[in-house]
Amino acid sequence: MSLEVDIRKDFKGFRLHVQFHSDGQPLGILGASGSGKSMTLKCIAGILTPDSGHVVLNGRVLFDSKRKINLKPQKRNIGYLFQSYALFPNMTVEQNIACSLQGSRQEKGPKIRELIRRYKLTDLEKRYPAQLSGGQQQRVALARILAYEPEALLLDEPFSALDAYLKEALQVEMRNLLQHYPGHAVMVTHNRDEVYKLSNHLLVLDEGKKVSFGSTKSVFSRPDHLITARLTGCKNFSRAKQTGENEVEALDWQTTLRVEGPIPPRLTHIGVRAHYFYPSEQNAPNAIRFLPLEKVESPFEWNVLFRNADAAEDGGTIWWKYAKELENASSPKYLAVQPRDVLLLENT
């Protein structure tokens, strides 16, 4: 099983150039809005036509600009779950599902009933999409797509149309579905939680270009790029330069930090996640003298904005987050960060 994608497409002021290879495990594409992630999916499905490159699914060439191959979406056998689900508003649940089945009414009947049961849509067969909840609409859309037995399943921001409560439950359902789905699954999102829960591999896009690629866990734990660190939730960055084998100078924070090497030669920034600071003594490694500036309460944690008390007035500010149970730790003298928690980043 393989999905090979190498596509280029030029727009006014924007150039998409994405290249990746998937072996069948759920792949996530993470990027800010306008990074070209939906466009990439649309090019794979044949909804948009790239200017050049190729798309090969399980050895079948779907698009190849050199060989002038460009299969219609109808011939690609790729399922696409739209952000809005794209259910036909003028058709009932069962009519929507019937659209992706071939054959006579008699042949479709049992298949539709089976899909209705499997996607927990019993008693909703005669409803129109406008009469369904967001979660039910998503299930109808998935039933309609999977009835077609696609070799690949593309999910475009699958949870953005749902409220938070429904989202959690549906992510569990989607996770189970993806684990058992026999084809390729590619999901694009700007939400780091979704992509962490649902994908095994992760591609990070910025302005139409790949900035990171790897297993989801490793991209989250050791992001190599400023953009990747930001998209995976890191809030604190400082320009940095290497000063020793395992030592960098954080220019904005005006302090020297021990890090766990090797330090990449093109290092431009370091990052520290707000959770990774902890109250410490002066002699702890990477201790920064704590000067609180602001304190913001969120439901389960405190967010404290501080800066290095030994730095000049213009020293960069840093966020520290800690759980509310640790209330007594609210005003330490020093905050430190483990060398392994300092992210070594480049910015190209």
Partner: protein, 228 residues
């Protein structure tokens, strides 16, 4: 009052709306499906022309094309044995040509309003283009298409300038209601004119009311009724 004008008008408007409706929808779909922007613009300009031309000018062109001494007109007369000019058929031809752009433009606008994701979704689940048109695009665009139909019918019913150019004003043959009103007024017969006007207003009102009722009925799926 000569009731033949009412009968001719109804016949002309009813027959012409069938042609206008089908041709307008097909032309709109064809233009919307085009990918070449320049060709699209040129075609659109040609198809809209009868709307912006004064009807007498459109009628003049029709006369120019279908006149018995012109190649097309000659072909119809000699080969098919049909004389178009100054016949009842000419009233239909004039109504179709003049009302066509209204139908075409309304349908085109309605098709372009249909959510592109719906069409893409239909393609990715393997529906062919004709099926997508029938099952998704046309039902979704129905209110706009129906509105276009109303406009086109009303325009066909009121057609005067092109009709008088190519069909003439022959009582009992090509004299539609608008022509009958003109003739009545020109002949100083205001009584008849009032009656014709009243009938024309009545028919127009009924058509609009009927179309509105039909559209509301077809769009019931958008209501959220039945949700628990």
């Amino acid at each position: 009052m000569d009731l033949s004008a009412v009968w001719i008008s109804l016949k002309t408007a009813s027959v012409s709306i069938v042609f206008t409706f089908l041709l307008g929808i097909l032309a709109a779909w064809a233009v919307v499906s085009l990918h070449r922007e320049k060709l699209k613009m040129v075609l659109d300009a040609i198809l809209t022309l009868p709307l912006v031309l004064p009807p007498t000018v459109a009628g003049f062109f029709l006369l120019y094309i279908f006149g018995v001494k012109r190649p097309v007109g000659e072909f119809f007369l000699d080969v098919l044995g049909v004389k178009i000019v100054f016949s009842w058929g000419a009233t239909v031809l004039a109504a179709v040509v003049i009302s066509f752009p209204l139908m075409y433009r309304s349908a085109r606008g309605a098709f372009e309003q249909v959510d592109a994701d719906l069409v893409s979704a239909a393609r990715t689940i393997g529906m062919n283009e004709w099926r997508i048109f029938r099952k998704v695009i046309l039902p979704m665009a129905l209110p706009g298409v129906a509105a276009g139909g109303i406009l086109a019918f009303a325009r066909g019913l009121g057609e005067f300038g092109a009709t008088i150019m190519i069909a003439g004003n022959i009582a009992g043959q090509t004299r539609t209601l608008p022509l009958a009103i003109y003739s009545a007024v020109a002949g100083g017969n205001m009584e008849s004119a009032y009656e014709y006007v009243l009938i024309l207003v009545g028919i127009s009102f009924l058509v609009v009311a009927g179309m509105n009722w039909f559209t509301a009925k077809e769009r019931k799926y958008l209501g959220r009724g039945g949700r628990k």
